[in-house]
């Protein structure tokens, strides 16, 4: 109980809300690094997933990436990239964690983009082709809109994973909200450590909830019941939870 009061006091201290180590700056750092990683990963993963889904060729690429992503723990990936960054004279407090975040965000997005397209009713695709649509038109105007909810589930999973992974970057000297956890631990400042964990947990839950709302907005009302089942099935391909 005393600890809860200390954590509340930590949050109430104005000093923790300003400056380079203040909550607003740390939160922005966390969000910036996460958004950047998801964008870079999406630029790689979504075109590949959509094309493999559209052409039906190269499905093994998608399944191997998914399996690899599942077996590769984020902490191991981060630490493995550190000696490589040092060898390349890159700053090891930024590049390894960003590399790990991008690599881990790819599997859920590639898997769900592919699964979303494959789940589109083939008769709709044939009807679109019968109407004289070209391949790209079928992909962009028929398959993509129908695949969107499942695809966005992949983006949501990737975003939550990336927010969680960036927390570990503090171990290697990176920024973000993980700093409070790591510094609190190192200085035996338990209120700081707990406050950091609370902030990180809240950010992950809010990220998940935000994408949940976006997913619901982009799903046509009459398709919601069916898509819920789809999202459930595809979520089985989820690799790690928050790490």
């Amino acid at each position: 109980m005393a600890l809860i009061a200390q954590v509340v006091a930590w949050f109430a201290d104005p000093a923790h809300w300003s400056g380079a180590d203040g909550i607003p700056i740390r939160t922005v750092e966390h969000l910036e690094a996460s958004a950047l990683s998801v964008l870079v990963a999406a630029a790689i993963a979504l075109p590949v997933g959509l094309l493999v889904g559209h052409t039906g060729r190269g499905a093994f690429v998608v399944s191997s990436v998914a399996n690899l992503g599942r077996a590769l723990p984020s902490f191991a990936l981060l630490l493995m990239l550190i000696p490589i960054a040092v060898d390349l004279s890159l700053d090891f407090s930024t590049w390894p964690i960003l590399g790990a975040m991008v690599l881990l965000a790819i599997p859920p997005m590639i898997t769900n983009a592919h699964a979303g397209i494959r789940a589109v009713d083939r008769s709709l695709v044939e009807a679109a082709q019968g109407m004289g649509m070209s391949g790209p038109q079928v992909l962009l105007r028929v398959e993509l809109p129908l695949a969107l909810p499942v695809l966005l589930t992949g983006v949501r999973l990737a975003a939550v994973q990336v927010v969680a992974t960036y927390t570990l970057g503090a171990v290697a000297g990176g920024g973000g909200l993980g700093r409070y956890i790591y510094d609190g631990f190192a200085r035996q400042d338990t209120p700081r450590m707990i406050a950091g964990a609370v902030l990180v947990a809240l950010l992950a839950i809010l990220t998940d909830a935000t994408f949940g709302v976006v997913a619901r907005r982009t799903t046509p009302k009459d398709a919601r019941a069916g898509n819920r089942g789809q999202a459930k099935a595809v979520a089985g391909a989820v690799p790690e939870p928050g790490v």
């Binding site: 077996a71 723990p73 191991a76 000696p83 927390t167 947990a201 992950a204 979520a235 928050g242 790490v243």
Partner: protein, 219 residues
């Protein structure tokens, strides 16, 4: 670490005992989490299967736990259970629940209605029907969940190095602190190999247990 190879083999041959101990701890932490997680998940899934209204709160709560980043969850447990194996295990078990419960429910829901009717018509009690009909038919989907949970847990165990456990994660962390790549790579490669081996082993076990489900087991 210039001129330091990613893996210095002489270190590996000199430290086989330490490596084996770390691997052993990794397997132990994973096994406890999966076995206890499975007991809790089966109980909760059966409750949700019997009383449908319980499904939403159970999946919601386990979903929130699953969303919390692992380092944060472990740290939040420290004031309660200290820097102990218990802290690691409670966190690890928490992460297995959503995956296991979702797959157990999906497996049970996938049992065809006519099979259930046939079982009822043969005079099976509810418990007999569950144990002899529903669970065997659901087994491939349940094992698929155990495989995902196991691979996930093996990865998460590495993070517990930050709170004093970690098995192979401990090796990796020590390699990072002393900037010695060999320890990082030995720990990481072994943890990935362990995940792949556990996944394959569980798949083989499931095929042996449910020879009739060969075609569906690919899921």
């Amino acid at each position: 670490m210039p001129n330091e190879p990613l893996i210095r083999w002489s270190w590996v041959t000199n430290h086989l005992g330490d490596i084996a101990a770390a691997l052993g701890q990794h397997v132990e932490l994973t096994l406890i989490a999966i076995v206890v997680g499975l007991v809790i998940a089966v109980t909760l899934a059966l409750v949700a299967h019997r009383y449908r209204w319980a499904e939403a709160p159970i999946t919601w709560i386990t979903g929130v736990i699953y969303t919390i980043p692992s380092l944060a969850l472990f740290v939040l447990l420290i004031p309660v259970t200290g820097l102990s194996t218990t802290t690691s295990e409670v966190g690890l078990i928490g992460y297995t629940l959503l995956i296991l419960i979702r797959n157990i429910l999906a497996g049970l829901d996938g049992v065809p209605a006519d099979v259930l009717e046939a079982a009822d018509a043969m005079g099976l009690t509810r418990l007999q029907r569950l144990v002899r009909v529903e669970i065997p038919i659901a087994l491939p989907v349940i094992v698929a969940g155990i495989r995902i949970a196991t691979v996930t847990t093996i990865g998460l165990v590495t993070v517990t190095a930050l709170i004093g456990q970690g098995g192979l994660g401990q090796l990796m962390l020590s390699g990072f602190i002393s900037l010695f790549p060999t320890e990082i790579y030995v720990g990481a490669i072994l943890s990935i190999a362990l995940a792949v081996a556990a996944d394959a082993g569980l798949l083989l076990a499931q095929r042996a247990l449910t020879p009739w489900a060969r075609t569906r087991s690919r899921a």
